[in-house]
């Protein structure tokens, strides 16, 4: 596409589709504002850009100038950022259109997009179920066909888990591949912007555009943008490890069947497949739920009603202002995580929890290095233990909710690239398979995904 007329038509069609998908509660931007902005963006877009005219929905914890950035929270209701995220600036420079802001668990804390102050997002194929989270709004819009691609963010699987639940492709890049500038901080040593696409190619080309160095983020590696691989004829020469800890006895039978079928297909494509072990996997979720809340308790200290966002009653003194604003502005899951984070960092508990978790994180990262050092190129696992669960099913039990991320948090802890792609269905619900790659070797991971995507019967029951 290089014709301004086509870009305008693309903008209008995207707005129509997003508005038609309103019942999902996936897009937080009001229809009128969305239409006006998309038209304006299409008129100003760069025709020479590689994503010219492509509508991309953006999770509401990524700063944009066009729309509010609320992080799904009451504490940022109506907030307009005075700057935009580097990833968003790169998308616009490539000619893409920012197609509204999408619903998410508050500040990215959740696995179901039920913890948003703006209501839950519905699963695109079954309204009684969740789309996953925390980037459930972007995932639902892509899965519903409203946009070809979307941005999400991951701290502990928040792109791959909803991608798996919604039957689309979700990529989390290596920590440091994409700038975090303008991504509202949750767990700074874990956070990364990720991408959703209806196909591996759509997701990969958006990732390629937003990747690369950024002087505004010192944790972003000084590397060139990701170069897209070509679609391979076979996977001859690839060694793919199957970590036995990701196939526990209580894995949902349909998920196991879909994975077994995908593994058979990887072998037929020419890959050498071998069983491997990541022995500290069982400690990944507890480790994550110490480190992430600890970092969140620090990062979210900035929301105090003094500098930005709404101010809730607390006129008595500044401390009352802090407490009432934070007490009323944050939802229950965020409050819970701030409290857990403050607890594990507090005097007397730091060594038992936080220091221990840091050591465990090192052991989990070492597990991956050991496997890759023995000649394994990639790992293949289920993305989630079950397909999308029912809305409300895990709300009263935070630990049960946390365990739905059991196969995805390891890549965040180890800073590795990982992606989910659809590999089958059960009773109409999608099942995702996960590829985990070596740091900064997203191209190899995407190459294998291209090959698997071509042969796997993703729409068939496993």
């Amino acid at each position: 596409m290089s014709d301004p007329g086509e870009a305008l038509a693309s903008a209008k069609a995207a707005a129509d589709r997003i508005v038609r998908a309103k019942r999902l509660n996936a897009c937080l931007t009001p229809p009128k504002e969305l239409r006006q902005s998309l038209t304006k963006q299409a008129q100003a877009a760069h025709p020479s850009g590689v994503l010219y005219g492509m509508p991309v929905a953006v999770k509401d914890n990524i700063c944009t100038l066009e729309f509010t950035t609320t992080c799904g929270s009451r504490i940022l209701e109506g907030y307009r950022s005075p700057y935009e995220a580097t990833a968003v600036a790169k998308l616009k420079a490539a000619g893409a259109l920012i197609a509204g802001k999408t619903n998410c668990d508050e500040f990215g804390m959740g696995s179901s997009t039920e913890h948003s102050t703006y209501g839950r997002t519905l699963h695109p194929f079954d309204k009684t179920r969740v789309p996953g989270g925390s980037s459930g709004g972007s995932a639902a819009l892509v899965a519903a066909g409203a946009v070809p691609a979307g941005l999400g963010s991951e701290t502990g699987g928040s792109v791959r888990q909803p991608a798996s639940f919604c039957g689309i492709v979700g990529i989390k890049p290596t920590y440091g591949r994409v700038s975090r500038s303008g991504l509202v901080a949750f767990g700074s040593s874990l956070d990364q912007i990720g991408v959703f696409g209806r196909s591996v190619h759509d997701a990969a080309r958006v990732l390629s555009v937003i990747s690369g160095r950024d002087p505004r983020d010192s944790t972003c590696e000084a590397r060139d943008s990701l170069r897209l691989p070509t679609v391979p004829e076979s996977l001859q020469g690839f060694v793919i490890g199957i970590p036995k800890e990701y196939f526990p006895p209580d894995l949902a039978p349909a998920v196991r069947r879909a994975c077994d079928r995908a593994i058979r297909l990887l072998k037929e494509l020419g890959a050498a497949v071998r069983e491997v072990s990541l022995p500290h996997t069982q400690y990944a979720v507890p480790t994550y739920y110490i480190i992430a809340p600890a970092e969140a308790s620090s990062n979210l200290a900035r929301y105090d009603g003094a500098r930005y966002g709404p101010r809730f009653d607390g006129a008595r003194d500044v401390r009352a202002l802090y407490r009432t604003t934070r007490g009323e502005g944050f939802g229950p899951e965020v409050r819970r995580r701030i409290l857990v984070g403050t607890y594990v960092l507090s005097s007397g508990y730091y060594d038992a929890y936080y220091r221990r978790a840091q050591q465990m994180r090192a052991l989990i990262a070492q597990d991956f290095r050991n496997v890759f050092d023995r000649g394994v190129d990639l790992l293949f696992t289920p993305t989630t233990p079950t397909p999308a669960f029912k809305a409300g099913e895990k709300l009263a039990d935070p630990v049960a909710m946390y365990l739905s991320d059991i196969f995805v948090v390891t890549a965040n802890l180890a800073g590795l690239p990982a992606m989910s792609l659809p590999i089958g269905r059960v009773k109409g619900l999608p099942i995702g398979g996960q590829l985990i790659g070596q740091a900064f070797l997203e191209d190899e991971m995407i190459e294998a995904a291209y090959a698997l995507e071509r042969v796997v019967p993703a729409a068939q029951d496993a």
């Binding site: 003094a306 966002g309 401390r319 050591q359 090192a362 070492q366 630990v399």
Partner: protein, 101 residues
């Protein structure tokens, strides 16, 4: 590791969060369960040799130490709850040191 209502209130004070009496029992029960769940990492002997893992570049890049205006699209008067004459306006400081409950 169980926590009591008093523990939760103390942590809430440290975190500058109001917790109402209605939600306190549920919060205490949920925090206890979360802390018991995460405490399972203590089952693995502490490895003093395991250095903390930090992803990203090996060393933070240094930038020239110079003052530059941040290219904001608009200033704090437009995004702050209260802003006057170049200052963020807040209520009086009040009493920060509270006796331990």
């Amino acid at each position: 590791m169980s926590v009591t209502d008093e523990d939760v209130l103390k942590i809430a004070r440290l975190a500058e969060l109001d917790v109402d009496e209605e939600t306190l029992p549920v919060l205490t029960e949920q925090m206890s369960r979360i802390l018991e769940f995460v405490a399972q990492i203590s089952a693995v002997p502490a490895s003093e040799s395991a250095k903390p893992f930090v992803p990203g570049p090996d060393a933070v890049r240094f930038r020239p130490d110079e003052v530059k205006p941040w290219p904001l699209a608009f200033g704090p008067s437009e995004f702050a709850p209260a802003f006057k004459a170049g200052f963020f306006v807040v209520p009086k400081l009040g009493q920060f040191e509270e006796p331990e409950a």
